[in-house]
């Protein structure tokens, strides 16, 4: 085992390979407060990549309802239960990672889901934590709650799948950090499916080898964001690149939101994989649950997010979500607009920070009809 630095844990940790960060890291940010679980992303991914034989059950992108939705069934509670209760307080994680907790003869703590665990892709949809009793009222956080969690492969800095593959069939690209599974080298051992705590590697029973999210690399190589990002009707996502954790570029929207403002947080950072999809936590969910899922910075992230209206640069970065199919490498707030730039500093999008109010007259003269409020 090599010693590597995991910035999300604030400490060194064991990993089977030497640290070798990519030139830039593929990353995605989800604003969970805006997701309505319409599954447009899921369908966009499915029709683009996984409509072949043996891929029927594969959802490289899925959206599940938390806390009772899972795909595959119970993926996070199963591995959390195996890892056991860990201390989550403080800026430095003192608990065990999945590599620390590996049983004798294993590289990492994991488990292989059962076939039937994949039988219900949207189980738990819209299930709330409980019933609203007599006298219940709206409060923050909510008395009963649920929220939507969109998920893709995290293209981790320290991927469990990569570390567990006995054949080095999985590799992390130097140019963008996308984690790929070599379809000609894999022999279907499913060590990756067993090891990935997020269960984002899928076994194809027709080809007898495993498959996973490819980060839409053909699009990304052309400067465009992933299918799941560009198809999102709620504009909850932005996909781009993270720079070095110790030298963030405040003009890169992802660096700014993740490293500088820490408003977007990794999913289950305590696993130790340094996952690279990040979540703006839901504002209405009780902090203990959020701390378990997104780490100790959840409450501060929510406070920062709620103040975005008065924070022009933060607001500008957030308004780049869903604003353009191209990857925004840089951004700048100019007057009442945020401008996104491509890798060559060329302007690709301009978004107003404040949408001017539009008032429609009650009577539509052209159509000789009264406008009614359909809601």
């Amino acid at each position: 085992m090599a010693r590597v630095h995991n910035w999300q844990l604030g400490r060194e940790m064991d990993f089977p390979y030497e640290a070798r960060r990519p030139d830039r890291q593929f990353a995605m940010i989800f604003d969970t407060n805006k997701c309505i679980s319409c599954q447009t992303c899921t369908v966009a991914c499915k029709t683009t990549w996984t409509s072949g034989r043996g891929q029927e059950y594969m959802y490289w992108n899925n959206v599940e309802t938390k806390p009772y939705g899972y795909y595959p069934l119970g993926w996070d509670v199963h591995i959390l239960d195996r890892l056991g209760v860990q201390p989550l307080d403080g800026p430095v994680y003192q608990g065990k990672t999945l590599f620390d907790a590996a049983p004798t003869g294993e590289i990492i703590l994991g488990y292989l889901p059962e076939d039937i665990d994949y039988a219900h892709p949207n189980i738990g949809e819209d299930d709330c934590t409980g019933l609203m009793p007599q006298g219940a009222h709206l409060s923050m956080p909510h008395m009963q709650w649920m929220f939507y969690l969109p998920r893709i492969c995290n293209h981790c800095t320290y991927p469990a799948c990569l570390s567990a593959c006995p054949r080095q069939s999985i590799y992390k690209r130097k140019e963008d950090g996308i984690v790929l599974l070599d379809q000609s080298r894999c022999r279907g051992y499913r060590e990756c499916a067993r090891a990935c705590p997020y269960k984002k590697v899928y076994f194809n029973a027709q080809t007898r080898v495993s498959e996973k999210c490819i980060g839409c690399y053909p699009a990304v190589e052309g400067g465009r964001q992933t299918q799941c990002t560009t198809s999102c009707i709620g504009k909850i996502r932005i996909q781009g690149f993270l720079g070095a954790p110790d030298a963030p570029d405040p003009d890169n929207p992802l660096d700014y939101l993740v490293f500088v403002r820490r408003v977007a947080l990794p999913l289950y950072p305590q696993f130790g994989l340094e996952p690279n999809t990040y979540y703006i936590p839901p504002v209405h969910v009780p902090p203990p649950y959020l701390r378990q899922m997104f780490g100790g910075g959840a409450e501060q992230a929510i406070a920062t997010y709620r103040a975005a209206r008065e924070d022009r640069k933060l607001l500008g970065a957030l308004l780049l979500f869903g604003a353009t199919p191209e990857i925004s490498h840089f951004f700048r707030v100019d007057g009442d607009q945020v401008i996104g730039y491509d890798a060559k500093q060329a302007e690709i999008v301009r978004v107003p920070l404040h949408e001017p109010p539009a008032v429609r007259e009650l009577y539509d003269v052209k159509h000789r009809a009264y406008r009614t409020n359909i809601t």
């Binding site: 034989r53 043996g54 000609s184 022999r187 051992y189 499913r190 499916a193 899928y202 194809n204 080809t207």
Partner: protein
């Protein structure tokens, strides 16, 4: 860590030399020509069965500390052109259906590519010590006997509106075929249930471009009887030259799919001395015919 390294080294050194107590396996010369693929053929009566103890693979991760198969019974014959190995083991669960959480039964035979040079590591060889590994898979055998399973075979209640290969040209549909589209040799559609491979240490297993190994496996009454055969001499530089009179070593690995054994989660044997017989000897005293052997081709194949 040092203690572990010493233990591993000791284990490797011990395994690298054929165990003194291990009876050698002699490939007996038998009449005939061509591949020896029938586990029920009478030729196996000429060969003495050798019991090979199988050990859990515990040197590299991941591991299966308690593999299901403890011993193999192995016979070897050759007809001057092909050498065949008959491997038998008890396996109460037939494992040929491969889905997310199920694994197939497999057995492999390992030979040094250079039968005259230093003996390679028994653990899939070592850099410079190349081995030829011929691996039979029950799933391949099932494909050959019954046809590769469709999605409906694996999941009878599955329903799909249409697949890309039904509405697109073969070229356009190819990206949706995954490993099949890049002709991954372990996927399906094989003519032989045996993969002809080479390796120089774990993690380096490579399916050879030229496939020479053939075989047949039959599961009956809780026993697998698998034949693996290959030409004794070929123009393949990554194949051993097993001419009559050669003395070398052979190793085995077995996977019980029903026990979730796959990859390095397996049982393996140290090297077993192998002698390629020069002429057909008289039937050895005390030799017993293999289980169920009738001299006739096997029937009731599953």
């Amino acid at each position: 860590m040092m203690r572990l390294a010493v233990l591993v080294l000791a284990a490797l050194l011990a395994a690298a030399s054929p165990a003194a107590a291990q009876a050698p396996l002699t490939a007996v010369r038998v009449p005939g020509s061509g591949p020896i693929v029938d586990p029920g053929a009478g030729v196996w009566r000429a060969a003495r069965g050798v019991t090979v103890p199988m050990l859990p693979q515990t040197v590299t991760a991941p591991q299966k500390p308690e593999p299901a198969v403890n011993t193999l019974t192995v016979r070897a014959v050759h007809n001057g052109g092909w050498i065949g190995f008959l491997v038998e083991w008890r396996d109460p669960t037939l494992s040929t259906r491969i889905v997310v959480d199920t694994f197939g039964d497999q057995v492999a035979i390992q030979l040094p590519v250079d039968v005259t040079g230093p003996t390679p590591s028994p653990m899939m060889g070592n850099p410079g010590g190349r081995v030829n590994i011929m691996q039979w898979r029950a799933a391949f055998q099932h494909d050959i006997d019954y046809g590769p399973p469709s999605v409906k075979d694996l999941y009878p209640n599955a329903w799909t509106d249409y697949y890309p290969d039904e509405v697109l040209s073969a070229t356009d549909a190819r990206p949706y075929t995954g490993a099949l589209g890049v002709e991954n040799p372990i996927s399906r559609g094989r003519a032989s249930p045996v993969l002809d491979q080479m390796a120089e240490g774990w993690g380096s297993m490579t399916v050879k471009p030229d496939q020479h190994a053939l075989g047949t496996g039959v599961w009956k009454e809780g026993v697998w009887r698998v034949v693996i055969t290959r030409p004794m001499v070929s123009d393949d530089p990554n194949a051993p030259r097993l001419t009559p009179g050669v003395k070398t070593v052979v190793g085995f690995a077995v996977w019980e799919g029903g026990n979730q054994e796959v990859g390095s989660r397996k049982a393996w044997s140290p090297w077993v001395p192998l002698v390629v017989g020069a002429a057909a000897p008289a039937r050895p005293a005390g030799a017993t015919p293999p289980t169920g052997a009738t001299g006739q081709p096997a029937g009731g194949r599953r």
